[in-house]
């Protein structure tokens, strides 16, 4: 089933994340990822939600989100016309110098950065589309991944189109 990216402006107050995630659980929708942070407006937070489902399901997800009093605006992002990014921190097992060299090389190819080195591990910080991060994580598996932390997706439409609250 296709993955869809939604962006929502919500009231920046306690309990909003609970209301949103609770709605997803109760309505039997599948969230792939959800991220929350501040937005350009002081009292609004921005959520980026990725969901799996067919057309009808996404339509319902959007309507059910809009129905929540604390949700001000929801829009569906066109993946081809949006910047979609995720950040990952990956701690990789690197006991010998060959492994260390490999990881540095791969990290360079993926435009990742080595942010920590210890005797037998390294942490790579990598930003990009979820696909790119998936690919990098796959490559690192053969060395042994000790820890993996991903932020979930944030996204924004390119150009003029933007998510704004009408007055």
């Amino acid at each position: 089933m296709a993955e869809h990216i939604l962006a929502a402006l919500v009231e920046h107050k306690p309990g909003v994340l609970y209301r949103v995630s609770n709605m997803f659980r109760r309505r039997n929708f599948n969230i792939e990822s959800i991220t929350v942070g501040v937005s350009e407006v002081k009292d609004l937070a921005r959520m980026t939600i990725t969901v799996r489902g067919d057309e009808l399901t996404v339509e319902q997800v959007i309507k059910q989100l809009q129905k929540l009093v604390d949700v001000i605006k929801v829009s569906r992002l066109n993946p081809d016309r949006s910047v979609v990014r995720e950040l990952a921190l990956i701690k990789i097992h690197t006991s010998d110098s060959k492994a260390k060299g490999d990881v540095v090389n791969y990290a360079n190819i993926f435009r990742g950065r080595i942010v920590d080195v210890s005797r037998d591990s390294m942490i790579v910080e990598i930003t990009g589309s979820p696909d790119k991060i998936d690919a990098f994580v796959e490559l690192m598996r053969s060395y042994g991944i000790k820890e993996l932390a991903r932020t979930g997706v944030v996204a924004m439409s390119r150009g003029l189109k933007s998510l704004k609250v009408e007055e």
Binding site: V10, E11, G15, Y18, R19, N22, M23, R26, L56, E59, Q60, K63, Q64, Q66, K67, L68, V69, D70, V71, I72, V165
Partner: protein, 557 residues
């Protein structure tokens, strides 16, 4: 104005026009009750269970068309409200629930009678608030009433920590509410209205499916005018029962699992269905994949999320039902539509004659008792029901003649709803007779509020259709579980007449239809609650019946 949070909440409620509160006090709400002690303009009705307080407030809302208010303490008081709040949520009823809460300094510490009522009620309220500053009280109350009643109505809960009740601050009631996240769209899109009219004008077999939304939008007159203009038959959902007088020639009654035969048959033959204020619940549509597959469906609803939630529709109109119907009427009138009685209508009328209800005579049965009740009651009497066979007999055989006179838990199907609902209805309309059509099982779930009915002077009639069993469950066991009556035998306990007398109400057991009619006539005139124990056969089935998962075509008649 300097005042305490409890004074502020009571004042704010008065400013919203609240006349009645149903509730029970307790530790965490005592400061508010202390203010209510001297209150002259608000009548507080002391219930005997918080579930009943919520149901009574719900019924008060359904009968008046405005908000109903209930109040409880924290912890168990609040959790006892939950079934009532969920019931109101499922049937879109504007209940305002006010709960006490432990002081803010103790929240999260598992203090005595602390419960996370915000967490618990988030999925069953339209919105909920926990007051965190005394000064916010006027705004929160105003918003709560707005959210509860605007657009598609629904319950809103306000949780009041004890320090927010005792705290004193400068309170300003002159606040504007502006909720940017909730602005229901009221006016229909003109182009969609034109398209709807195109479909209706071309239809050969049009039908109107009217739901509970007509009640909340107060669109009774518009519905009737449109039906008469189109000369189209009207069927309703269970929640829509009574949106059109059920003795009107165009009304066919309810569709659904226990819908009327003529209604189910007709809607399945229609080529255009104009659905207004309905949500196509599974109990109404039967097997949804086979529901009106040949027809074009126009769906009017104020809640955009109802469009295409359960059935795919041809033409959605997101708007207030009254405004949408008016727009359609205007457009039809502009086009000068004049309909004669069509072949279709004649066919429907033949069906209606064929399956018309017979006069009640002979045995004392559930169906007959309900018919007798209709004969005895004046048109404006209010009827509430419990859940089970009693409810479905009421749906099938009690013809509702006036708006807002039939109250039942449709969405949640809450046993124990009917009796406290009848008390809430009586509080709202002391001038009309109020009857709870009950089953013995359901009545036993909330019968303790006979005490409320006697002490608060809320005389109602409870007609217990007593089959000594959890009848509806027993019916399913009879039909689908090879008569294995697992735990549905109630063994004829208690003696309802004596139970009523113990509470200071009147109790009578009747033995025949004639006797029932006599007793009902006296009960309507009585100024005390009367419980009528009506013994009916255990094995009586509610028919017709569309078995679960089957299409409306597959009725057992």
């Amino acid at each position: 104005m300097k005042m305490s949070g409890s004074q502020a909440i009571v004042e704010a409620l008065k400013r919203e026009g609240v006349k009645t509160i149903f509730g029970i006090p307790g530790g965490a709400i005592m400061p508010v009750y202390d203010v209510l002690y001297d209150e002259k303009e608000i009548r507080h009705i002391l219930m005997r269970h918080e579930q009943c307080a919520a149901h009574a407030a719900d019924a008060y809302a359904r009968v008046t068309g405005g908000p109903g208010v209930c109040m409880a303490t924290s912890g168990p008081g609040a959790t006892n409200l939950v079934t009532g709040i969920a019931t109101a949520y499922m049937d879109s009823s504007p209940v305002i629930a006010i709960t006490g809460q432990v002081p803010t300094s103790l929240i999260g510490k598992d203090a005595f009678q602390e419960t996370d009522i915000i967490g618990i009620t988030t999925p069953i309220t339209k919105y909920n608030y926990q007051v965190r500053s005394v000064r916010d009280i006027p705004r929160i109350v105003k918003e709560a009433f707005y959210i509860a009643t605007a657009g598609r109505p629904g319950p809103v809960l306000i949780d009041l920590p004890k320090d927010m009740q005792t705290g004193v601050d400068d309170i300003d009631f002159d606040v504007d509410v502006e909720i940017r996240g909730y602005r229901p769209n009221l006016d229909p899109h003109p182009l969609q209205v034109k398209r709807a009219v195109d479909l209706l004008v071309e239809a050969e077999r049009p039908i109107i499916l009217a739901g509970g939304g007509i009640h909340w939008s107060n669109a009774y007159g518009e519905l009737l005018r449109l039906a008469e203009l189109l000369m189209a038959p009207v069927v309703t959902t269970f929640m829509g029962k009574g949106v059109i007088p059920e003795n009107h020639p165009l009304c066919l009654g309810c569709i659904g699992m226990h819908g009327r035969v003529e209604a189910n048959k007709s809607i399945m033959m229609a080529d255009v269905v104009l659905a207004v204020g309905v949500r196509f619940s599974d109990r109404s549509t039967g097997k949804v994949d086979e529901f009106c597959t040949e027809a074009k469906i126009i769906h009017i609803d104020i809640d955009p999320s109802e469009i295409r939630k359960n059935v795919s529709v041809h033409l959605p109109i997101v708007a207030d039902a009254k405004r949408a119907l008016n727009a359609i009427i205007d457009e039809l009138t502009r086009r000068g539509l004049k309909r004669e009685k069509s072949e279709w209508l004649k066919r429907v009328e033949t069906l209606k004659k064929e399956y018309a209800d017979t006069e009640p005579k002979g045995e004392l049965t559930g169906a007959n008792a309900v018919k007798v009740l209709r004969k005895v009651l004046p048109e404006n009497a209010i009827v509430a029901t419990e859940v089970g066979q009693n409810q479905m007999w009421a749906s099938l055989h009690f013809k509702v003649l006036k708006p807002r006179t039939f109250i039942s838990s449709g969405g949640l199907g809450t046993m124990g709803f009917g009796f406290p609902a009848s008390l809430g209805a009586k509080a709202a309309r002391p001038d009309v007779p109020v009857v709870d059509i009950a089953g013995d099982g359901s009545f036993l779930m909330t019968e303790q509020d006979l005490a409320t009915s006697v002490t608060e002077d809320l005389p109602v009639i409870v007609m217990v259709l007593n089959n000594s069993s959890l009848g509806m469950v027993a019916q399913w066991q009879r039909l689908f579980f090879g008569r294995r009556y697992s735990h549905t035998d109630l063994k004829g306990i208690p003696d309802f007449a004596r139970l009523a007398e113990a509470f200071g109400a009147r109790g009578v057991r009747v033995h025949s239809l004639n006797e029932l009619e006599q007793v009902l006539k006296e009960a309507v005139r009585a100024d005390v609650t009367v419980v009528i124990d009506v013994p009916i056969p255990r094995e009586e089935n509610v028919l017709p019946f569309v078995p679960p998962g089957k299409s409306l075509r597959e009725m057992i008649i």
